[in-house]
């Protein structure tokens, strides 16, 4: 059984249909890359999975149970790493994690242990007591990841988690994600960086205009494009993901 089962999700904002019947699944120990142009509906889809927005239609199943309501215990099995650096700059790393952990019901020794292990994982144990405002961009990104992991979720939703970080920090984040995958976590990863999806994703879901237009492994997507024949790709050579993406979603600009 899939740990995350997204079924026919729909969401509109007035006349704009942002998500239109999106369905996909995510297995434990798997990383799915969620790709799409700007405004394709990725973030809205992630928001509905995280319980930030109520779907107009469809459902989100966490380990077979429908996610419903703000206080659904199923939300404890989901961790969110938002695109923004959602941290309190005037608090220390520990104080941030203590607060976010408490929101998920962690307290006392369990919270201390969780903070220690996540800070260790993201390489910030020695800066735990420093104010976040003194951190570099990369350190903030790693702490942002730690805050999503603190309550040991089965599913981690990562919304462009490497925006604006240097190659070293990005590599460290990739190492963290690969370690989490090995530990059996299910990861849903949205990004605009195709090479990240190529490196990390076991499967790739491409969304455009609120609909899933492809859901396959990297090899499967490449095979599709090769079959269709793409300008600039030599006979027998595999197209890279960017070429596949542009072939599927078109070259017109999206704002």
């Amino acid at each position: 059984m899939a740990i995350l089962d997204v079924r026919q999700l729909r969401k509109s904002f007035g006349a704009l249909v942002a998500v239109d019947g999106v369905s996909f699944t995510l297995q434990a120990g798997q990383l799915v890359g969620l790709l799409g142009p700007n405004g394709a509906g990725k973030t809205t889809t992630v928001s509905m999975i995280a319980g930030l927005a109520a779907p107009d239609g469809g459902e989100v199943l966490i380990a077979g149970k429908r996610l419903a309501g703000d206080t659904d215990p199923g939300k404890r099995r989901v961790g969110l790493v938002p695109q923004d650096l959602a941290l309190y700059e005037e608090l220390s790393a520990r104080e941030n994690l203590r607060f976010f952990g408490a929101l998920f019901g962690l307290s006392g020794g369990a919270l201390d242990k969780a903070m220690a292990s996540t800070l260790e994982l993201v390489g910030l144990a020695d800066r735990a007591r420093d104010l976040v405002k003194t951190f570099s961009g990369g350190m903030k990104r790693r702490l942002n990841l730690a805050a999503g992991l603190l309550h040991d979720p089965d599913i981690l939703l990562l919304d462009e988690p490497t925006v604006g970080v240097d190659p070293q920090s990005r590599n460290a984040i990739f190492d963290n994600l690969e370690a989490l995958k090995r530990a059996g976590k299910a990861l849903l990863y949205t990004t605009h960086y195709m090479e990240e999806a190529e490196r990390l994703a076991d499967r790739i879901v491409v969304i455009d205009h609120g609909k899933v237009i492809a859901d396959d492994t990297l090899g499967g997507l490449q095979a599709r494009v090769n079959v269709a024949g793409v300008a600039g790709v030599a006979g027998g050579a595999k197209a890279n993901l960017e070429t596949v993406f542009l072939t599927l979603t078109g070259r017109s600009l999206r704002d």
Partner: protein, 429 residues
């Protein structure tokens, strides 16, 4: 409602508040400084002596009546009198150093005496005044009326001018062709009796002539918390400024909530299995605690330094303070619910808070407002907050005096919270 997330939200907000030095200074020190200043203005004299009005007098007449008027002014406890020349007086008033200058023109005494009994032309006293000090002008006008009437009547009933007036009037009456013989006889009889009275009294009016005096005296009692307890203007100013700055602090709390949304922090909050009620309650509770600290620190300072006392009910004071704190913190949450962006919310709420505190009597007491405005301000929560704190401090009203303000403030708090819960943008997409 889950306790752990609620406690964590309150703890976090308190830490953030106290980590911002500017907020702490604005919330605690600024209201104390401004309330101390306003309190010193409205407190009144602690010795029982009223503040004296600076008045200049120009005596161009130099008559017995004008001298008596100047002497009366000089002895008045409400005035600080200086004699000067007309040009000096005019310049002093223009420069704002003197509130009012009174010029007694030449011939005033004689003309006033004639006008007192007869139908002679009334002489003019010239009053030069600073138009920005109309209240002091009104006071000086009243005081002047009293002293002029005393001086003129005293002179006319017992002074040389009165004798001279009778002596001049007797032959006029005797030769009058317009009076009936009976009227003439009665008037001559009265004037000769007056002349006889003057002849028996020492020349110059004598000490027994008092003229017209006020036919009553006044016993004034300030209705404060008890007999012989002076009004402490600091109690009102600290209530007003405390409320003003806790509203500013809570408006800032609302703006901070909008900034939290802008920074994506509400995504984290909403992704946790925490109810909307807990999220709002956490904000309201932390805001209320900060508000209570502001009220507490302000009044502790006022008590220690300016002798403000909770002369009414301590429990009532605590209830009003808690109700104020809840009203203010729900106002902050309302700002977050209605605000589109931190920048616009900050501008609009600053205006809203200033309007509320102005209409609510935080700057000046509401009794100086027109009657219709006094009624209108009952819809302003600050009015109830200030009235409630006044009732529990210098007015010395018991627990019953806290009931209406507490109910009203809790009503406002419930209304603000309800609107905030309905209008708050819960979805984060």
């Amino acid at each position: 409602m889950a306790f752990t997330p609620l406690a964590a939200m309150v703890r976090k907000d308190l830490k953030l508040f106290f980590s911002d030095r500017r907020s702490v200074i604005v919330s605690f020190l600024v209201p104390i400084a401004i309330a101390s200043f306003f309190g010193s203005l409205f407190n009144g004299p602690r010795t029982g002596e009223p503040a004296k009005i600076n008045v200049m007098v120009v005596d161009q007449d130099d008559s017995a009546i004008s001298k008596a008027i100047v002497a009366g002014f000089g002895a008045d406890r409400n005035l600080k009198l200086t004699s000067a020349e007309a040009e000096t007086a005019r310049d002093s008033v223009r420069r704002g150093r003197t509130a009012v200058a009174v010029i007694v023109p030449k011939g005033f005494g004689e003309a006033a005496g004639a006008a007192f009994f007869g139908d002679g032309a009334k002489p003019q006293l010239e009053m030069l005044y600073d138009p920005s000090r109309a209240t002091e002008l009104a006071m000086v006008r009243g005081i002047m009326t009293q002293h002029v009437m005393e001086a003129v009547s005293k002179e006319m009933f017992g002074g040389a001018q009165g004798r001279k007036y009778v002596e001049q009037t007797l032959p006029q009456v005797e030769s009058s062709a317009t009076m009936s013989p009976q009227q003439k006889q009665l008037l001559l009889q009265m004037l000769r009796s007056v002349q006889g009275f003057y002849n028996q009294a020492p020349s110059g009016g004598g000490s027994s002539a008092r003229g017209i005096t006020m036919p009553y005296s006044v016993k004034e009692e300030a209705m404060t918390s008890g007999a012989n307890v002076a009004y402490n203007g600091y109690a009102h100013s600290f209530a007003g400024m405390g409320i003003q700055f806790l509203l500013f602090a809570m408006a800032n709390l609302g703006v901070e909530m909008l900034l939290e949304r802008q920074r994506g922090l509400w995504k984290r909050l909403r992704s946790a299995p925490v109810s909307r009620l807990t999220l709002l309650a956490g904000k309201v509770l932390s805001g209320a605690l900060i508000s209570l600290m502001i009220v507490g620190v302000c009044f502790a300072f006022a008590m220690a330094v300016f002798g403000v006392r909770i002369s009414g009910s301590v429990a009532g004071f605590a209830a009003v303070a808690v109700a104020c704190a809840l009203m203010a913190s729900t106002f902050g949450v309302l700002v977050a619910a209605l605000g589109n962006s931190p920048a616009t919310a900050r501008g609009v709420t600053t205006l809203a808070v200033l309007m509320m505190v102005m209409l609510g009597g935080a700057w000046v007491p509401t009794f100086i407002f027109p009657a219709w405005l006094q009624q209108f301000t009952l819809i302003v929560p600050v009015r109830w907050a200030v009235d409630g704190l006044d009732a529990m401090t210098w007015r010395g009203i018991g627990l019953s005096g806290a009931a209406a303000p507490v109910i009203a403030l809790l009503g406002f708090a419930a209304l603000f919270a309800l609107v905030a819960a309905i209008r708050f943008r819960w979805e984060e997409a």
